[in-house]
């Protein structure tokens, strides 16, 4: 049976190669950071919780001290790329499409045909595992088709992962923060406060408070990822799902999207809202946010309705 452990070995191999290439390039901070991540993927399941915790602290120390830098591995020049693009045309999109197609078609086949009975994949893990298979197929196809140097995928991948830097593990770290918040009872405290505000038994108002909390926390933190674990453990799971019996998939997915409406409204989400105003040399720093208000507010209201209808009216 193929499990997540297989994916972890694949990811561990990718990070180990990036670490080795960084070391060869004398970028020691990058080398150490990606090497620790490779250790986590290879051996995390066999290490004690404390060892994993110390590994997390080490990762954060490297990132916090500014140890991660962008790199410039060998690649093609803009002129060469232009020439390749003109020659290859829209076929360039095909390998990138292989990945989602493999995963979606594979998942459907696995769930709705007798293939599922083979038990080839760990239960409920098939989509991400098929994603990994899709990546391998796409890479192999691209290598055979375009015949780049053998190290090109590793170097091009390093170019991208170094440009992402520490942000690459921020979502994973925020999920871990959510777990610690849950352990410390943060969700219970906020949920208790929320329960005091929301009239008992009103599903619709609870949905409104959940979606409003997602948007407001996102605006404060500048990031829906940071808001989600707090609001899900405070209101989404205990009230909407456990008390009122709502559909978890709708509450999770659309709750996150209600948070994204908050991202459109906040200068804290600088990458999306402030940086473009600077890039476009706009006089008003908040000009982009001003254009987004009229979309974000009605869309937030639509999300409230989708949760209410999809998670409750259609589900029960």
């Amino acid at each position: 049976m193929i499990t997540y452990e297989w994916l972890y070995v694949l990811a561990g191999a990718a990070f180990a190669i990036w670490a080795a290439l960084s070391a060869k390039d004398r970028r020691w901070g990058n080398a150490a950071f990606w090497a620790l991540l490779a250790v986590s993927f290879f051996f995390g399941s066999h290490m004690s919780d404390l060892a994993n915790g110390v590994l997390v602290l080490a990762l954060v120390a490297i990132a916090g001290l500014g140890g991660l830098k962008r790199s410039d591995p060998p690649t093609t020049s803009p002129e060469e790329r232009q020439a390749h693009a003109a020659r290859l045309g829209n076929r360039l999109f095909l390998p990138a499409l292989v990945v989602p197609l493999t995963a979606v078609v594979g998942t459907l086949l696995y769930n709705y045909t007798p293939l599922g009975e083979t038990g080839l994949f760990e239960a409920r893990r098939e989509t991400l595992i098929l994603f990994g298979i899709g990546v391998l197929v796409a890479m192999l196809a691209t290598m055979v088709w375009l015949r780049p140097p053998l190290m090109a995928p590793a170097q091009e991948g390093r170019r991208l992962i170094d440009s992402i830097g520490w942000a690459a593990i921020l979502p994973q770290m925020l999920a871990a923060l959510g777990a610690v918040f849950a352990l410390a009872g943060v969700g219970d405290i906020i949920g208790g406060v929320a329960r005091g505000v929301i009239p008992e038994g009103s599903v619709f108002l609870t949905v409104v408070v959940f979606a409003a909390g997602m948007a407001l926390f996102t605006m404060i933190m500048g990031n829906a990822f940071a808001a989600f674990p707090v609001m899900a453990t405070a209101i989404g799971i205990p009230l909407l799902i456990q008390t009122y019996g709502g559909n978890p998939a709708v509450i999770g997915a659309v709750g996150m999207l209600a948070g994204f409406c908050g991202t459109l409204l906040t200068p804290m989400a600088a990458n999306f809202n402030i940086v473009p105003a600077a890039l476009l040399e706009l006089k008003d720093q908040n000009a982009v946010i001003r254009q987004q208000v009229g979309t974000a507010v009605p869309l937030w209201a639509v999300n409230v309705l989708i949760i209410y209808i999809g998670a409750f009216l259609l589900w029960n």
Binding site: G44, G53, V56, A63, R81, T127, E156, A249, T295
Partner: protein, 223 residues
């Protein structure tokens, strides 16, 4: 009730506002929250390590980078620019609606790095939208030009945010899965990502209407 664990949230807010490294902020918040809730510091580090380890699958998605990088080496970005450039003609409104559709579809298929403010909006989408607006409405004052450019950037954001979650192998979907699984509700990424579709359609409808309304308003102001 002990309200002290909420200090962790305050640390996240303050830390992000003061622009400390976000990883540092998140881990400080986790440690402070655990300790203020009365847990032993070592137990908090253990809990953090276990949770980080349990959520490794969120970061697995980076294995796609060698494929994307390889395609970029052969001009993926340049080809995407060619597609956007081919959209020209007609009005600013129609141009931005077409870009919105392109951005949403590409993100939904996992190509969220096609587009973006530095790569697409500044060099392509904003100047093309401005030129189209001038062509239809005649010379525009500085404020109106800024509005058009800001709307181009807004269109990129809306297209990305309300397209990307349809792609299941993305951090936000896996984060939802992680949080719900920890609470005892196992979901598959695909179950979650199909529920991003209704909002994506609503986002397309609302934002398209707003872009076209801006185009009409510029026309009235010019008369």
């Amino acid at each position: 009730m002990n309200y002290w664990p909420l200090a962790g949230i305050a640390i996240v807010v303050l830390g992000f506002a003061l622009r400390f490294n976000p990883l540092l902020v998140v881990v400080s918040a986790a440690l402070a929250t655990g300790v203020l809730a009365g847990l032993d510091p070592v137990a908090v580090i253990e809990a953090l390590g276990k949770a980080f380890n349990d959520n490794r699958y969120i970061s697995v998605t980076w294995i796609i980078l060698p494929v994307i990088g390889l395609l970029e080496r052969y001009g993926l970005q340049q080809r995407a620019r060619g597609l956007i450039e081919g959209m020209q003609g007609a009005t600013m409104g129609r141009l931005l609606v077409a870009y919105l559709a392109f951005r949403q579809l590409a993100s939904a298929l996992g190509m969220k790095d096609i587009g973006g403010h530095a790569q697409a909006v500044r060099p392509l989408v904003a100047p093309m939208a401005e030129a189209a607006a001038v062509k239809t409405h005649g010379d525009l004052p500085e404020d109106a030009r800024d509005e058009v450019k800001a709307m181009a950037a807004a269109t990129d954001n809306v297209g990305l945010f309300f397209g990307e979650d349809i792609f299941f192998a993305i951090a936000s979907i896996l984060l939802i899965q992680g949080v719900f699984e920890a609470a005892g509700y196992p979901l598959t990424p695909l179950e979650l990502s199909v529920w991003a579709i209704p909002t994506a359609l609503a986002a397309f409808a609302i934002h398209s209407w707003r872009v076209l309304a801006l185009d009409r308003r510029l026309g009235r102001a010019g008369q």
